[in-house]
């Protein structure tokens, strides 16, 4: 049975998307990503170090673009203009690659998204031919507007970026999922495996995380845990959970045949 994640016309076996930041070194980055089973990996676009020695290793040497789907992000951008500019550079850098992660931040302390600037950037990028996966607040109205603009996936936060606080408003996520015709992925805030499983049980199409793996005591082991959690949560969602009941008058063992 194939249960594929479909984004912008492409299918992926893994519903776990991972970031590539905050690891000890490139070897650990690669080992963790292999353990996670992720096919889509986010990267940031930054000024190249001028004056480096020729042949210095780069992230791309460890994660060859022909083996992974790159998702360039706009992390660190605080205006629509900067985000659009960054992703146009990313498209040039990655030979015309269209799938991108848009995020426009509003505050350096919380990294909470600025949705007014995000919407402005999304409009420009969609018109410019990008497939835009968009990091957003968990506001159902905003999420719907981003879909109407033409984004290919909405990615509401579970809690603040890098906080590991888990899913703070499952009710809003459920409203967003119920109203969306495009994939909804939780991006940001996942702290441990159960958080990822809960996101998937709510009906998310996928989960994107970085710090929960990179900042774990053993990142490679946590990456494997996240893979299982996302798969388990997805299976549980598809299976359909039993209803919650305060009391159950339905014991699991037969009532008949008890010894007297």
């Amino acid at each position: 049975m194939s249960d594929l994640l479909k984004i912008a016309g492409h299918s992926y076996r893994s519903r776990l998307l991972v970031g590539t930041g905050k690891y000890q070194d490139f070897a650990q980055t690669r080992a963790a990503i292999d353990a996670s089973g992720a096919e889509i990996v986010t990267v940031a676009i930054r000024r190249t170090n001028i004056g480096q020695t020729a042949g210095e290793p780069s992230l791309l040497d460890f994660l060859p673009p022909d083996q992974f789907t790159y998702l360039p992000n706009t992390a660190g951008c605080y205006s629509a203009d900067d985000a659009v500019r960054t992703l146009r550079l990313a498209r040039e850098l990655l030979d015309g690659h269209k799938l991108v992660k848009l995020e426009v931040l509003g505050d350096p302390n919380t990294l909470y998204p600025n949705m007014i600037e995000t919407i402005a950037a999304a409009k420009v990028l969609v018109k410019d031919g990008f497939d835009v996966m968009v990091y957003c607040s968990d506001d159902p109205i905003i999420a719907k507007q981003l879909e109407e603009i033409g984004c290919c996936a909405v990615m509401p936060l579970a809690s603040l970026i890098g906080s590991g606080m888990g899913i703070l408003n499952p009710w809003n996520l459920q409203i967003i999922i119920a109203n969306a015709q495009i994939p909804v992925l939780v991006d940001a805030g996942v702290g441990t495996a159960s958080d990822a499983a809960i996101a998937m049980e709510l009906g998310c199409q996928g989960v994107l995380m970085n710090t929960a793996i990179a900042a774990a005591g053993d990142p490679v082991r946590m990456a494997g845990a996240m893979k299982k959690a996302v798969e388990a949560g997805r299976e549980a969602f598809l299976a359909g959970r039993m209803p919650k009941k305060l009391y159950s008058a339905s014991p699991s063992s037969p009532s008949a045949g008890l010894i007297a």
């Binding site: 590539t20 990267v43 676009i45 930054r46 040039e92 850098l93």
Partner: protein, 67 residues
């Protein structure tokens, strides 16, 4: 001429040269990067043709780890 590269001024003896020449001078040959000159992207296919002049502002970027 003087160029501003990733926010820092740099002086060169020549009065003009191509983007491809600059990439070689900076030891960046063969690296996967993207270049913006005065806010406009210079496609990689045009590195040899596009020439830089005094006062040009360049951004040279690559992909790094991020979430």
């Amino acid at each position: 001429m003087q160029l501003t590269i990733n926010g820092k001024p740099r002086s060169f003896d020549a009065s003009t040269f191509s983007v491809a020449y600059l990439v070689g001078q900076l030891n960046l040959e063969g690296k996967r990067l993207a270049i913006e000159c005065n806010g406009e992207i210079v496609p990689r296919s045009q590195f040899a043709e596009v020439h830089l002049v005094d006062g040009d502002k360049l951004e040279i970027v690559g992909a790094v780890g991020g979430g």
